[in-house]
Amino acid sequence: MNLIVCVKQVPNPEIPPSKFRIDSEAKRTIPPEGIAPVINPYDERAVELALRLKEKHGGKIMVVTLGDDVSGNVVKHALSMGADDGVVLTDPAFEGSDSFGIAYILTRAIQKIGSYDLILCGRQAADWDEGLVGSIIAENLSLPLMTLVVAIERIDKELKMKRVTLEGHQIFTLPIPSVVTVSQEVGRPRLPSGWGIISATKKKLPVWNAKDIGADLSQIGAKGARKRVMKLFLPERERRCEMVQGETAVEAAIKLAEKLREAGTI
């Protein structure tokens, strides 16, 4: 099977809120010092799911990312996990694109790659948390879509998929080719192997610009954006926390129960 996985580089989402900074003038985040950006965790799970499919049914995995020069690192991460090939899409004309522009650029790149049985994306990116790109790619290509997928199996010419719901799960079948968005319940992605890291580091990634993919410039960049951020700010979320203390854990527990009773919450 030929699989395409779309991945994105994001600021490490595990950074504590105290280290999170924004530039409200420029309406963007300030990268935390000394903490490197990572592959979007949802996309990493899409890579993991693609690898499981490849192990079972054979085939090749092509990883695509859109970003700056550094974002090749997230493609290399996917390669070190076991993906076969990758491409980086970068062009000043791409900057400022919204989710529709990003999905359009990825769609053009996928069309250039040409042959695929399944396209996998993370359910959302841990930066803007939109959850749009996978669905838009499917619509752009008029392909069947399944969201929040956690397991896939090929049966003849169809794909049997498990998707998570709030109350449990569902099993669907989709034709080939299709698009899926992958949810975190796939589980922990595998760690890159030593050999994987070595060969990924050596690999030279092709870089495609707007012209290479034949992008219509009116669809991309800040000019092509259908929406824009008017304001970016940090939420007021601090409550005044009353610390309940005691000489021992037992004493603290008793005090806490009493406090809750006084507050009328129990």
């Binding site: 600021p11 989402p13 504590p16 924004i22 309406k27 985040t29 529709f100 359910r123 959302q124 841990a126 803007w128 948390d129 939109e130 959850g131 749009l132 669905s135 838009i136 619509e139 752009n140 069947p144 879509l145 399944m146 969201t147 049997k160 998570v164 719901t165 709030l166 109350e167 449990g168 099993i171 669907f172 299709s178 319940e185 922990r188 954006a225 259908r226 929406k227 824009r228 951020v229 008017m230 970016l232 700010f233 939420p235 979320r237 601090e238 409550r239 005044r240 926390c241 610390m243 203390q245 854990a249 527990a253 008793i254 806490l256 129960a257 809750l260 009773r261 507050a263 919450t265 129990i266």
Partner: protein, 332 residues
């Protein structure tokens, strides 16, 4: 050229009842209607929805569009998207509102492409700029670390999904009058590409998380499946239920159906006791609107203490047995 006008709430009916998020959408929809002076409509799809249409009018809708039939989002999302697209093409509303539910998440992005318009997902507030009449779409980003206010660049209709519990539900007023309009939509079954084989609902023990008045939530600090026994005991005493963060799901200690947070359940209990939870914004997104938050954590520096009303620093293994006994004693 199409002139887009009016607000359309895509309502949801579950087990014959209007869902809470639909009432929340109608509440915020009324606010937007008053600011824009445009009619507020609601779309209902499914079986026996006539009975619910009157209720939707009492909650503030001027018009209710009804697509009758055994059409369910869960079993055929493709068909559902197709029908809503047709309705929106006919109605040409300027703003389309969904809940950020399984339905909204599925339909809104695809609808935006099909209508060649724009969408903002998971908004927590919507308002109208009094001067420009633009729809201001507030949405948590970076896992809840920041809030962005988005505006659309003149691409009508503007589509949004609203996070559950972000708005108060509309209160009914039975004297309200409105119009009920059945719609005939050609259902083209060839648009169904994904076929449902099976739906599995995990049995909910006790109370549903969204309805719970008390939630005892555990995170990575619980350390294993064994530890949750004492949380369950406390939940039993306080007549509450159990919730979890991502880590216990990833580790396989607890089922993912109990996950609270940005990608799980959104809850607003009277009492939320967070045990062994660091307080990552992705989790807090699901519980920050709880009336009272109690944090029990070994790390005095944990973020959760900044967002709780009461905090105890310590090992839950030593605190919980006494807390359970004392609570039993106090609420007897």
């Amino acid at each position: 050229m199409t002139i887009f006008r009016g607000l359309l709430v895509c309502g949801e009916v579950v087990d014959g009842n209007i869902t809470t998020i639909t009432r929340e959408l109608l509440n915020i929809g009324r606010k937007l209607r008053d600011a824009l002076h445009q009619p507020l409509s609601t779309l209902l799809i499914g079986e026996k929805i006539e009975e619910r249409a009157q209720e939707v009018i009492s909650l503030g809708a001027d018009k209710v569009y009804m697509v009758n039939g055994p059409i369910f989002m869960e079993s055929s999302p493709d068909l559902y998207v197709g029908i809503i697209t047709e309705v929106c093409k006919q109605m040409a509303p300027s703003i389309i509102l969904f809940g950020h539910t399984e339905m909204g998440r599925e339909v809104a992005p695809r609808l935006a492409v099909r209508l060649n318009s724009v969408v903002t997902m998971d908004c927590t507030d919507l308002s109208i700029n009094p001067e420009t009449k633009q729809l201001l779409q507030s949405k948590p980003v970076y896992g809840g670390n920041a809030i962005a206010i988005w505006i659309s660049e003149s691409k009508d209709p503007q589509i949004v999904t609203l996070r559950p519990r972000a708005s108060m539900p509309a209160e009914p007023d039975v004297s309200r009058k409105g119009e009920m309009i059945p719609l005939g939509i050609n259902i083209d079954h060839s648009m169904i590409k994904s076929k449902l084989l099976e739906t599995v609902k995990e049995e909910v023990r006790g109370i549903k998380l969204e309805d719970a008045k008390v939630i005892i939530a555990g995170g990575g600090g619980i350390g294993g499946i064994e530890g949750f026994k004492s949380l369950e005991e406390l939940a039993k005493v306080l007549r509450g239920t159990i919730g979890v963060t991502r880590v216990p799901c990833d580790e396989g200690w607890m089922p993912i159906s109990l996950e609270i947070g940005q990608t799980g359940h959104i809850v607003t209990p009277n009492l939320y006791i967070a045990i062994g939870i660091s307080g990552a914004p992705q989790h807090m997104a699901g519980c920050a609107s709880s009336k009272c938050i109690v944090a029990i954590n070994r790390d005095p520096e944990a973020q959760i203490f900044k967002e709780a009303d009461f905090g105890v620093v310590g090992d839950y293994r030593q605190i919980l047995p006494t807390l359970i006994e004392k609570c039993k004693d106090l609420i007897r």
